[in-house]
């Protein structure tokens, strides 16, 4: 007899309640705050599902960086006040949507309970392959991301580059090449500066640690990169650093480093290991860490640029 099932049910209820609050809140900003709290709660759910890697990612990206993005956006939209309260949809439409959503949720819930038993799984294959192509990676998720499904991972890095291009393209022609607007308009504020000065070195250390242990323990380039990104953002919020101009080659190189190195090593695999995106078994682990180091850099550069938004004409003033 343990307390754990009750805690699980409590957590589940809490997640659902906060989610309902996010959807039902009247005010835009309240709903954004609700979503950020929701993201953090979700990290606990992932821990309960024995998914520490996902929990780390959810806490850092889903809760943390997305939270900064949405809060900033909510604040700016709130300040502009031009979001006219539109005519709320009529009751009939609301009811219809509610019924549709309930049907989808109900069908999905029923189907989840019907998933086959015993469940199919690739865990045995992954365990068997971990001796060969997975090559000495203690963390099976890193092995999946960097070896078996490395192609997805490389494409996902391309998605980040395209998102950066897309976000930048939303700016004006005149501002092109300049820097995004600073994270906080007012002058630096002492507690924020203090926080950045204390937190950033520790955070960078932890970020690199998470990346390095990712080969064998929960963590990896994603989670480490997200932490580094957060530290850069804190530093920029304290105005200890300003967002870089988007036409600087150093920034561009940092953004493409991950996918570029991945692509080159993937091509080289054809010559060295007989197949595109294959690694020579003896060298697999160092090569994977090498690629991940560049991906760490790319993620740490891409996430803050995505939050910072398009280049701004006022940035230089």
């Amino acid at each position: 007899m343990s307390l754990l099932p009750y805690l699980d049910i409590g957590l589940a209820l809490l997640v659902v309640v906060v989610a309902v609050w996010t959807i039902a809140a009247r005010d835009l900003f309240t709903s954004v705050v609700g979503y950020v709290a929701y993201g953090l709660l979700l990290a606990f759910v992932w821990i309960r599902l024995y998914a520490p890697d996902v929990a780390l990612t959810e806490a850092a990206v889903g809760g943390g960086v997305t939270g900064v993005l949405l809060i900033t956006a909510g604040k700016r939209l709130g300040a502009r006040k031009n979001v006219a309260p539109e005519a709320q949809p009529g009751l009939a439409f609301r009811l219809l949507t509610g019924v549709l959503a309930a049907l989808v949720a109900g069908a999905l819930g029923a189907v989840i309970l019907m998933l086959p038993d015993p469940p199919p799984s690739l865990a045995p294959e992954a365990a068997a392959a971990a001796d060969g192509a997975g090559a000495g990676l203690g963390n099976p998720i890193t092995a999946v991301l960097m070896s078996y499904r490395s192609f997805d991972t490389m494409l996902e890095k391309m998605v980040l580059i395209l998102a950066v291009v897309g976000v930048w393209s939303v700016g004006t022609d005149k501002a092109w090449g300049g820097a995004p607007a600073p994270f906080r308009r007012p002058k630096p504020y002492a507690p924020m500066v203090f926080l950045a000065q204390m937190l950033a070195p520790v955070g960078v250390l932890i970020g690199i640690h998470i990346f390095w242990t990712g080969a064998n323990a929960p963590g990896g380039a994603f989670q480490g990169g997200a932490l580094l990104a957060a530290m850069w953002m804190v530093t920029m919020m304290a105005r200890l650093a300003e967002p870089p101009r988007i036409d600087t080659q150093r920034l561009r190189l940092a953004l493409v480093a991950g996918p570029a190195v991945f692509l080159i090593i993937g091509l080289a695999g054809k010559v060295v290991a007989g197949s595109f995106f294959a690694y020579p078994p003896a060298l697999a682990k160092p090569i994977i860490l090498f690629i991940e180091a560049f991906m760490l850099l790319s993620i740490a550069a891409a996430l803050p640029m995505l939050v910072a938004g398009p280049p701004s004409e006022r940035a230089d003033q």
Binding site: Y189, P191, M192, F194, L195, M198, L199, V202
Partner: protein, 95 residues
């Protein structure tokens, strides 16, 4: 078999939990945002410190014990900074 260290852990974690409880009561019962924040930050800093202290004897290695202390220090830092920031936002909002 309960050792002295276990007793210490139980005492410290219980005390920590009490502080969390008091902080939550404060959050719910205090009249305005500043006093609520006061209750939350103070109680959480001490509460988490006591919980971490209670867990240290149960840590597997010296490194994990160190991690517990670092976690507490980081929470102290962020709690102190965020209360400052929220407090300032409140003051500006009132003017």
């Amino acid at each position: 078999m309960i050792t002295l260290l276990d007793l210490f852990s139980i005492a410290a974690i219980s005390a920590g939990a009490f502080f969390f409880f008091a902080g939550t009561v404060g959050l719910l019962r205090f009249p305005d945002a500043l006093t609520r924040m006061h209750a939350l930050a103070k109680a959480d800093n001490v509460g988490l410190g006591l919980v971490a202290l209670g867990l240290i004897p149960r840590a597997e290695s010296a490194l994990s014990a160190l991690k517990l202390i670092v976690i507490w220090a980081l929470v102290l830092l962020s709690a102190a900074s965020t209360t400052q920031l929220i407090g300032r936002a409140l003051r500006r909002g009132r003017k």
